[in-house]
Subunit: 226 residues, 2 copies
DNA sequence: AATTGCATAACTGTATACAATTGCTTTTAG
DNA sequence: CTAAAAGCAATTGTATACAGTTATGCAATT
């Protein structure tokens, strides 16, 4: 998610960071593709300095890999990575959900209810993209409520990496959309009832279900492109 | 040709990263202290370029904070941060422990047994520093066995941040050392018995117990220095 | 004395220049 | 003809120069 441009001035380095990241997520820069600082610099018509700093951030985030000789390439994708990402996310999303359930105000509950309704509506209209987007907003709002900056920062970075895989999943898996909507409904109920154990458990299961839905199509993609 | 040396070779940027990080952990650079690129550069007798890149890595790791005006300061410490760190660590350490329990070879088990014995011996000799160090090696070895690169990378970064707080804890809390040794013994048993549920649970509890042991002394320190 | 405005200093952001390393091609010894 | 090596090209690492921004101190004004 891109911070609003109006609220804070962004340096060239920051803009480049978001730009390259987006290219990696969208597959414009493909897994394992080698990265050249100078060609990126001339392409964006700036010097190498901000490019280097943006790339280093992406390297820290593991969207870019540094080879032993110092050169860079776009990080590969793999079934193992997806599983790792979802296993870690499952725990951390569960944690923030638990904390949010305990700390949410009545106003927060109202907001969560609205997001849930948007998800349900989108799924009934077979708008999978909307289900995913409102789902993200729902999750992000939970991060906010939890006020857990450490978990939130990690989750945001992991979610960027997950985005690469979402692109590979089928664009109209309505069955999964409906299931996801159902899961969010149950999740919201648990949160609204202040049942943090149940909420944490449901969130973990929700993440794992997303993984299972995604895995087969990803495996297929990886097999076709090796 | 000397391939072993060339692969080990670290750039100035990397060395500076470790050096500044160490200074922050040891408290030579104090929480909230403002950081000046140029003075660091002249102090280490290098240019600003590698300093900037090292600082950016530390910023990503949240050991350094960037103010809205672009200037940097050493990240503050707080009770809230400790709690967040331990809550996240608890879950991730539990995850890698579970995975390690499933995947460990007989040789791995032997190695873990040795580390456990070293911890027990150190605690009986009232060598708290050794208890902490062997404890770290035990944990790091679990990371290795788990082969979970995502969790390992996150844990290593979190552990750097935790190190700052360890420095504030009393240097000779032998009661806690003995308790930690006992916990590691039980943990090893669960791992050796391939009881991954129990191992995960014990590891989570172990981390939470460390937090509770550390929290009071940290609270005291924060109170005395505000 | 407090406040505003301006000048200047201090600092970060970006560009460019240069050094060091790596990869590649060609040459040359066997 | 093969393989090591020399030389060149491409690329990253570091230093320096310059531009832009923010903070600071001082003077003027009320």
């Amino acid at each position: 998610m891109r911070p609003s441009l109006s609220s804070q001035r962004l340096s060239t380095k920051d803009l480049v960071y978001f730009e390259i990241k987006q290219k990696i997520i969208e597959g414009l820069l493909k897994p394992n593709q080698s990265i050249n600082e100078e060609s990126l610099a001339s392409e964006l018509d700036i010097s190498r300095t901000p490019i280097r700093e943006a790339l280093q951030r992406l390297e820290m985030q593991e969207l870019v890999i540094r080879l032993p000789n110092g050169r860079l390439k776009v990080a590969p994708i793999s079934i193992q990575e997806v599983e790792e990402l979802f296993n870690v996310r499952s725990l951390l999303e569960g944690l923030v959900t638990r904390e949010a359930t305990i700390q949410a105000t009545d106003k927060d509950m109202e907001k969560l209810k609205q997001y849930t309704q948007l998800i349900v509506d989108a799924s009934e209209a077979d708008q999978r993209v909307d289900v995913v987007n409102f789902g993200s907003e729902f999750h992000n709002y939970l991060y906010q409520i939890s006020r857990n900056q450490t978990a939130t920062k990690i989750l945001n970075q992991l979610n960027d990496r997950v985005s690469r895989y979402r692109r590979l999943a089928p664009t109209k898996d309505n069955k999964r959309s409906q299931q996801a909507a159902e899961e969010h409904k149950k999740l919201f109920e648990a949160i609204a009832n202040r049942n943090h154990d149940q909420a944490e458990k449901l969130m973990r299961e929700h993440i794992h279900n997303s993984l299972n839905a995604a895995k087969s199509s990803i495996a297929l993609h990886l097999h076709n492109n090796e």
